[in-house]
């Protein structure tokens, strides 16, 4: 089979377009929705904790339930498009892992006895990010590395900006996730 260099160039460009389109379709479905929903929950929840601490527990409960429902529905929808046939067994292990992580987080908080809400929040964020990174490294979910900058933001906010910690996490943590989700959706 003989083709000219010009034809080869066009075919390679077509392959690249298709690969990019596939990556974009997958990323704009799963990762971006996760980032945008989580980011919105954090933005509203943390800003509310900063300015309206008396009602923030109810806001967090409501947002967590809403976020979980949206995440589950979207995960179910995405799971029907692109799936891993061996995921069933992995999903069970992942569920057990998260349940154990919650237990360890509660145990760590009980032992450390944090004196204020910021310490409890930072503990919880760190444990969630450990879980997120572990899932990414073991199951190969795409684009999970965002757990690292979120961890860095939480530590910087906790140690250097305690007076605006919640606002910091809401605007930069939550807002950053929303911005990154929108960026992936439009540019990838």
């Amino acid at each position: 089979m003989n083709i000219s260099p010009t034809e080869a160039e066009e075919i390679l460009a077509d392959i690249q377009r298709m690969e990019q389109k596939t990556r974009h379709a997958i990323a704009s479905g799963g990762t971006t929705i996760t980032l945008i929903v989580t980011g919105a929950v954090w933005l509203i929840g943390f800003v509310c904790t900063q300015f309206l601490p008396e009602i923030s527990p109810y806001v967090w409960i409501g947002l967590s339930i809403l976020g979980s429902i949206l995440g589950t529905l979207w995960g179910f929808r995405m799971g029907q498009r692109v799936r891993n046939p061996e995921f069933g067994a992995t999903a069970k292990r992942a569920t057990i892992f998260w349940l154990l992580l919650v237990f360890y987080c509660i145990a760590a908080i009980a032992i450390a006895r944090p004196t204020d809400g910021k310490q409890v929040t930072t503990f919880i964020i760190l444990f969630i990010m450990i879980g997120q990174l572990s899932m990414g490294l073991l199951i190969s979910f795409s684009a999970v590395w965002w757990a690292l900058p979120i961890t860095a933001l939480a530590l910087v906010g906790y140690f250097f900006l305690p007076s605006i910690f919640y606002l910091w996490m809401g605007v930069l943590g939550g807002g950053g996730m929303i911005a990154f989700g929108l960026y992936i959706r439009r540019r990838w």
Binding site: M1, N2, I3, S4, P5, T6, A8, E9, I11, L12, D14, I15, M18, E19, K21, T22, R23, A25, I26, Q80, R81, V82, R83, N84, P85, E86, S140, S142
Partner: protein, 97 residues
Amino acid sequence: MSNLNETIHQPVRLRIMAALVTLEASNEVDFTYLRELLDVTDGNLGAHLRKLEEASYIAVNKVFVERKPRTYVSATAEGRRVFQEHVAALEAILKGK
């Protein structure tokens, strides 16, 4: 030039393979989703998938999800290897420009 694979070289099949090798190795994609991604008809996609399956470049997995039949498609290890060789051959032609 002899490294160009005639089965994969057909434009629709090439795009099918490009989409499938982009997925993680253990993942498979729903037929309907793939059809939307490639913007082709059911019949056209089905015919090309059969060709690729006969060549062992893809695996077709038919399952029932909530009592509805669904077809999932994935690239085999052989398919991924052949596709990479095909891309390398195209790049070699381009470099010889």
